[in-house]
Amino acid sequence: TVGCVAVDSLGNLASATSTGGLVNKMVGRIGDTPIIGAGTYANSLCAVSATGKGEAIIRGTVARDVAAVMEFKYVSLKEAAAYVVEEGTPKGNVGLVAVSATGEVTMPFNTNGMFRACATEDGYSEIGIW
């Protein structure tokens, strides 16, 4: 699975995710990626793109949960995403990238690795695997 989230200088948010799914999956199986609120979500607060075991991400409505925790618990994107990844989903199944309307970036995961990279206007950038 590949994904990208972005917030532009006008504060517009967007998220895009694309995948081939799971190895050896049944023909006709749909994963989390095209399910709005599971693998991909955006609203006026944040944009989220998730990856991992689709069935766990769908059950956990992961991408929507990040936005909902921000919205209803009034916490930062980083805290909301950490909560969803650490508390809301089974270990070893989920990773995500997300940005907020204020330009915050977070890339938590509970697997042993996630290919990831980010850059922000103030010059911060990060590339990582494990």
């Binding site: 694309s18 081939g20 749909i30 309307a101």
Partner: protein, 167 residues
């Protein structure tokens, strides 16, 4: 000494403040996420577009989704010939009254919109044929970067709820 790698983009008297035009292309966020995912779909090392993992029948079924902060969104599933699924998802968002098109309907929409399509074999890589073989030997459904079973590891019987513990 283990592995090490370094790369550069050229040395010289690079102006500290690159002209804004080169650092900011003025693309809105929606264009940026689509363009980045298109690039990643075209890299065979990632599980999307070319390099998608295979179903139990050795076929490719790709899916994608795009959404913006106003919750305008588009999603596609079950694609077998579309080179960039993410761009078709964006066309679903912008050219139809729906959110999600799948399988034959999505393929027909792709032809109607004139997006680039190729034979399914374009997406299949030797690495993914090998991955599918490993997954079948282990009798499991797995995420693309799952390590092959060691010889002493027992075969897995998929759990009833569909969640393979080694997935």
């Amino acid at each position: 000494m283990g592995w090490a790698i370094a790369l550069h983009g050229g040395a010289g008297d690079i102006p500290l403040s690159l002209p804004p035009s080169s650092s900011q292309s003025q693309h809105p966020a929606l264009d940026v996420v689509e363009l980045v995912v298109r690039e990643l779909e075209n890299i065979p090392h990632f599980n999307a577009g070319k390099g998608s993992v295979l179903t139990t029948q050795g076929t490719v079924e790709m899916e994608a989704c795009i959404i913006d902060g106003t919750k305008r969104c588009g999603a596609v599933s079950g694609l077998t010939t579309v080179v960039n699924p993410i761009s078709l998802a964006r066309l679903v968002m912008e050219k139809t009254p729906h959110i999600y098109l799948a399988f034959d309907g999505a393929e027909a929409f792709a032809r109607e919109q004139g997006v680039e399509t190729v034979d399914s074999s374009h997406f299949i890589t030797p690495e993914n044929v090998e991955r599918l073989k490993q997954a079948k030997e282990a009798n499991r459904v797995q995420i693309d970067y799952t390590q092959p079973l060691h010889k002493d590891e027992k075969k897995e019987t998929p759990e009833a709820d569909g969640d393979s513990k080694l997935g």
